[in-house]
Symmetry: C3
Subunit: 363 residues, 3 copies
Amino acid sequence: MNQTVTPDSLRPDPSVPSSPDLRRIQAHPDHWYPMAWSRELKPGGTLAVSFAGEPIVLVRPKEGPVFALEDRCAHRQVPLSKGTVDGCAVRCCYHGWAYEASGKCVDVPYLGKDKLPNGVRAYPCREADGLILVFPGDASLADSVAFPGLGSVANPKYKTRRFGKTVGCHYSFMHENLMDMNHQFMHSKQMGQMKPRVLGQARGDDWVEVKYSFKRTGGKQPLGEAVIFGERRSGDQNHAERDIMTIRTEYPYQTLRIQTGDEDPVMDLWIVYVPLDREQKTNRVFGLLSVRKPKIPGILNVAWPLLVLFTERIFREDREIVEMEQAAHDAQGHDWNQEVFPVIRSLRSLLMSCGVDSSVPVS
Amino acid sequence: MNQTVTPDSLRPDPSVPSSPDLRRIQAHPDHWYPMAWSRELKPGGTLAVSFAGEPIVLVRPKEGPVFALEDRCAHRQVPLSKGTVDGCAVRCCYHGWAYEASGKCVDVPYLGKDKLPNGVRAYPCREADGLILVFPGDASLADSVAFPGLGSVANPKYKTRRFGKTVGCHYSFMHENLMDMNHQFMHSKQMGQMKPRVLGQARGDDWVEVKYSFKRTGGKQPLGEAVIFGERRSGDQNHAERDIMTIRTEYPYQTLRIQTGDEDPVMDLWIVYVPLDREQKTNRVFGLLSVRKPKIPGILNVAWPLLVLFTERIFREDREIVEMEQAAHDAQGHDWNQEVFPVIRSLRSLLMSCGVDSSVPVS
Amino acid sequence: MNQTVTPDSLRPDPSVPSSPDLRRIQAHPDHWYPMAWSRELKPGGTLAVSFAGEPIVLVRPKEGPVFALEDRCAHRQVPLSKGTVDGCAVRCCYHGWAYEASGKCVDVPYLGKDKLPNGVRAYPCREADGLILVFPGDASLADSVAFPGLGSVANPKYKTRRFGKTVGCHYSFMHENLMDMNHQFMHSKQMGQMKPRVLGQARGDDWVEVKYSFKRTGGKQPLGEAVIFGERRSGDQNHAERDIMTIRTEYPYQTLRIQTGDEDPVMDLWIVYVPLDREQKTNRVFGLLSVRKPKIPGILNVAWPLLVLFTERIFREDREIVEMEQAAHDAQGHDWNQEVFPVIRSLRSLLMSCGVDSSVPVS
């Protein structure tokens, strides 16, 4: 009989530090994360969401602000989101235990008010610009942690597309995908061939930023992109290179802006990837894609379906590839990434230092 | 980098003893458990069933009683239930090995009778009132362990509905569900609002019993319930409170009887939850719902579909909620139950002491 | 509370050595294994295949021979099979890294040629008689290890049916199934009742062989079999017993030949079971079923659909049973096989000694 042999070439590259593994670094919970679009939660309704495997119920009473609780009844742990909104409280569907916004248990139909048991965890919760955000970490920090800017969604000069899907990968693959514009190669069917040039990069404690220009080397500008720029660009090289794309990860959010000279950005994307499951192998994307309205604003509305179609196609290609990266990681059990692009090395180091290392036990 | 932080509120309540976990207590095998309805097994046929992950084949020869064997050929462990009934034996479909009711191997087509190999395990097996029951534990105890009474199924004064489904949860959730009548809250759409009152409880070595009366606080008596009582009940409080409901877990069976004064019960339910898989996270329900025939018996037959519909709806709601309890347990890894109802505490303690603790290794 | 009790009869037979477990012995990688049929891979195309969990991409440039690489880009481990063939190289779809047949990285669009990173593993690869074969083990041994004979596929006196399906079991069940002709019992609906007689067996370092004759004891010769023999056989016992069936496992391949006297075989089957997943619980069958052409060769073509139908039915029955064997092994966690047939004991010992014991760690 023979012994197992793993060929050397199948082992991770020893030059890549294998520990800790970026794909096991958890998103830091001490930030404000979108949990749902406002329109998903009607007055008098509940909505089951989750952050990194923690079930959370969003409750919108008929009057008053949305609140967020642990989505488990204290009694038998069935989801409170299956229950009903009763005044300012949510009542479990099984034996009727009721909880108010603070998480306190305020009624058990068959117990005296003096005997009420412990309640459930409550999460800081805010609603802004059509998004419901929750602070899943240490609630005492919620007020001191910056609430995100949400791009140009509130700026009347812009029209915004809200988009998002669930993607089957660790959030870090999403950040890397967007920031590495060399992956334009993958979108050449949609966008033609564009050669990116790095104009510069910078790094702070909780952010990484890179600026690109692009030179079209083949194909024509797609219509969807023309909608964003408000004009058709010819193959004129100097013209195209005037547009500067700035991509920034400001932990845990990401933005992408396209600007010509000192003008306001023609496009301002704000995006975040919220881990859903405990292993953080799936994330829900919340994206706000704001496009500056042209002088004749009706044109943008007419052309909007083109932009939607264009961005959907790009997004689908991105989703397929990052899910393949996750599948490869699952099969290998480690991150074998062999990164050669300094911007991405910098981003990886940022995500590593800002996240939570789940492999280190609490002492 | 940061370390993992589990918020305190996500940890199980330390006041609840976490070990042993009731949801990992195995149903004790030294009892008679239904494995199938008689009508599921034709003469000359086989039927694959299971108890707690043990595959069992039920065999009904063309003549003679049903027998039960381990559903694995001794040779290559393929299911004997895929084979054929050959006289008083079952013959494996692959290489034709044959076994009789005792489990003894009585033929291998290519071996002399003097060289026959070991056979397979046989289980004590009895058929009664349309049920095939097996004793999956220590066969030497089968004769001394009480065979269950099966409610009023054999009583000609009653008409019985046989029902059952596979439910995706540990059997203990089923016992708790039925015995805690505070969960009437969940069925209020089907049954109207009923306030249960505990009249008393009792506990023995292998049983727990509770008696309730009910006061209607909203809604009307559903038609399906009227079928059971043989008459429509008005909102008259004293009248409703004359009906006594007795729920009893007599390990491992459960019964629910509704009685008015000293009369025979108007309803007599006998029910058992047989674990199917090794982890005992699914169970097959065998229920015998016997309703006392009214003086004009034809009425019950006419109204029977109403009763079926009514009980199906109740059962569906119960199934959904207990499967949510199991899903919560799977996600948490422990039982976080915070029980406030003394009857259920008593029941939990009974199920714990009568079952098998799978976490204790055999010394 | 009670302790877990495992009845003795549910434990594996102690007379069978339980360690090492044949069903965990890995197919030895230092052999040539078919990975695909030639027709599955068009010029300019790629094909994702796998050997024992290792993803492999087969690449057929527009000109030149097929080559085989690890199906993971060195950069981000996404499948190269999703990329495009670019001259003599395959280019990853994501950021455009390109690899030639040796596995060397020959282009990264945004890096200088002097900075190119490590490439990926290449596998020895050969194409013969409509099959693409790969040597998944130690590449330095590929030239010295015998390339398989592929039966009579290249012999113009024979017509060959190429067949194969993915089967959900360890390859060892396949070898045992074919070599133990007592399982004719299972095919009696298709083939009538045939009683096999062992004429002799032999064993070498890397092979086991057994010879059978058959006596028809019931039913008639099926038409599909008549196609193979080129004539209808009557019930004449002596006649039937003149046909000798030789089954041979010559590791890792298997052959089955039917011969009458000194004539060329009327049927010559070459078959191999290639493990697909890391646990080797699925295999892809590549079979070459060669039938000697009769004097009037057109007859064989006309009758061919009968042979196809016949062999498909047999194969379906075999697949069902070996998948049940694997399912039983999965449920039991060990091999409980209780083998009474000396030929199969011999085969099991061969497969054990020629394979790789995955439970022994590399020292």
